[in-house]
């Protein structure tokens, strides 16, 4: 046969060549897909770690913030508050001693007024920083007290309804986080939403909790929320995450806001 190759040899070389090249090309393609997948997994793990680190940082910030608030509230109440009371008592002594001197009595009266205002302000600031009711009597009492404070101001009507109460939440941090969320929501409703009516529904079960918050304010465009999320809203989201819960916000222009928070305890 011309050409020097036997039929079988050509058949064998070609078959082996085809199979080898096919196997090599498939192996290369598979290697590529696997390496891309591995790189993607590594990237996702790195991103996850970064996210967890950021979350941890945020939680630590919040905890530090609360610790500071507690400390400042305590210092205000114990140090400044008590010293103001001492000043007030001494002003009474001056008042008694200066009975015969009307000009001095007038001055003492003015100073007493300022001291009273300062004592009230100090108490209010200390209270706002960390309400003792929350620590002593629990979330429901603290929220009731908060609602009453706003009711007194006449600018907004805040209605609280406790739909379920199976007793105090074991975790004080969760109670504090939920309290802060409600505080922030009310503050936003008044400041930004210009709401006149707020309703708060609470379910405090032994295994889970739920909050439903509504106002009749001017609402906002949800689509723009992600772009313009303020620190307060971010803070709320972080607190919800700390509780291991979920938050859902519904709103539209002119329709007020509905916020649902739920978590397992």
């Amino acid at each position: 046969m011309e050409g020097g190759f036997q039929t079988d040899e050509v058949y064998l070389i070609m078959a082996m060549g085809i199979l080898t090249m096919l196997a090599l090309s498939l192996a290369l393609v598979l290697f590529f897909y696997k390496s891309q997948r591995r790189l993607l997994q590594e990237k996702m793990i790195a991103q996850q770690s970064e996210l967890q680190y950021q979350e941890k940082l945020l939680y630590n910030n919040i905890l530090t913030q609360e610790k500071e608030r507690k400390r400042i509230a305590k210092d205000l109440h114990d140090d400044i508050g008590s010293k103001l009371n001492v000043i007030f008592l001494n002003m009474h002594r001056i008042e008694r001693a200066a009975k015969e001197s009307p000009p001095i009595l007038d001055m003492v009266s003015d100073i007493n007024q300022v001291i009273n205002i300062t004592i009230d302000t100090t108490r209010r600031i200390s209270h706002d920083l960390l309400p003792p009711t929350l620590d002593n009597f629990g979330l429901i009492e603290a929220v009731k007290e908060l609602c009453e404070t706003y009711q007194k101001s006449d600018s907004v009507n805040v209605l609280l309804e406790v739909k379920q109460n199976d007793g105090r939440l074991v975790d004080k941090t969760t109670e504090l986080n939920l309290f802060r969320i409600i505080q922030e929501l009310i503050s936003n409703s008044i400041k930004h939403g210009e709401a006149e009516q707020i309703s708060i529904d609470l379910w405090l079960g032994s295994e889970n909790l739920k909050l439903e918050y509504r106002d009749n304010g001017k609402g906002f465009d949800l689509a723009k929320l992600d772009d313009k999320k303020g620190l307060g809203t971010q803070n709320m989201e972080s607190r919800v995450k700390m509780m291991g819960g979920k938050m859902n916000i519904q709103s539209s222009m002119g329709e007020g806001i509905l916020v649902r928070v739920s978590a397992e305890v």
């Binding site: 050409g3 039929t7 050509v10 085809i18 290697f31 891309q36 790189l39």
Partner: protein, 221 residues
């Protein structure tokens, strides 16, 4: 029997090819130059298949078409890879010179070395080795770093896989193609069936790639 199988595989490949072309024409947005080149390649492929089939049915020698097809296949797929391998500075720098040089070799082979009525095994093998090299360079370039994953890159990966698998596997068929004519070896029919099968796989992978791009665009409307 082998002839029947080859016909079925060839006709199926042509069907898939036509579908790919239609999908490209009606759905891929004008801005995507890379896929325009792919479309040009697919149309070239289809025209060559149809004309070759016409000649074959009339028992006429259709091998001159292979010479032409090899040249245009090389130019179009090289252009495709020039865009895909945009980070490879050597390809970007020497691209047109390389295209010109290889084209001259391919044409010279057809004029001086191998008859246009026979297989252009020299040129075809050279072109296949170049295309295999492009595919390997792509894999090498992106296997060590993460590519941005979207439907376009997924499509390019599939096209690359198609080029690599087809041209690697059919390399030996075309390398020994002229020996079939010289030695009149009957078993070559089996290898052409294998080639038809590989071509079908090639066309199917291209179709899946185009599908991913087209239907990504649909979702984003």
């Amino acid at each position: 029997m082998l002839l029947k199988i080859q016909e079925i595989l060839s006709d199926s490949a042509i069907g898939v090819l036509i579908f790919s072309i239609i999908l490209c024409l009606i759905r891929i947005k004008r801005g995507k130059f890379l896929f325009k080149i792919l479309l040009a390649f697919l149309i070239l492929n289809l025209l060559t298949e149809l004309v070759a089939d016409y000649f074959w049915r009339r028992k006429m020698n259709n091998l001159p078409l292979l010479h032409l097809y090899t040249l245009f296949e090389f130019v179009l797929l090289s252009w495709f890879y020039k865009i895909v391998l945009r980070e490879n500075k050597w390809i970007q720098k020497y691209f047109w010179s390389f295209i010109f040089f290889i084209s001259v070799l391919v044409i010279s082979n057809s004029i001086f070395l191998q008859s246009i009525y026979g297989f252009n095994s020299n040129a075809k093998t050279l072109v296949q080795l170049i295309l295999i090299s492009y595919a390997v360079i792509y894999i090498y370039s992106y296997s060590l770093k993460l590519e941005e994953v979207n439907e376009d890159t997924k499509a390019i990966r599939l096209i690359n896989a198609a080029v690599l698998i087809y041209h690697s596997s059919s390399l030996f068929i075309f390398l020994f193609s002229n020996m079939f004519l010289i030695n009149d070896i009957k078993i070559h029919k089996g290898f052409w069936v294998v080639n038809a099968g590989l071509n079908l796989i090639f066309q199917v992978l291209i179709l899946i790639a185009i599908w991913k791009v087209v239907f990504k665009q649909t979702k984003s409307i």
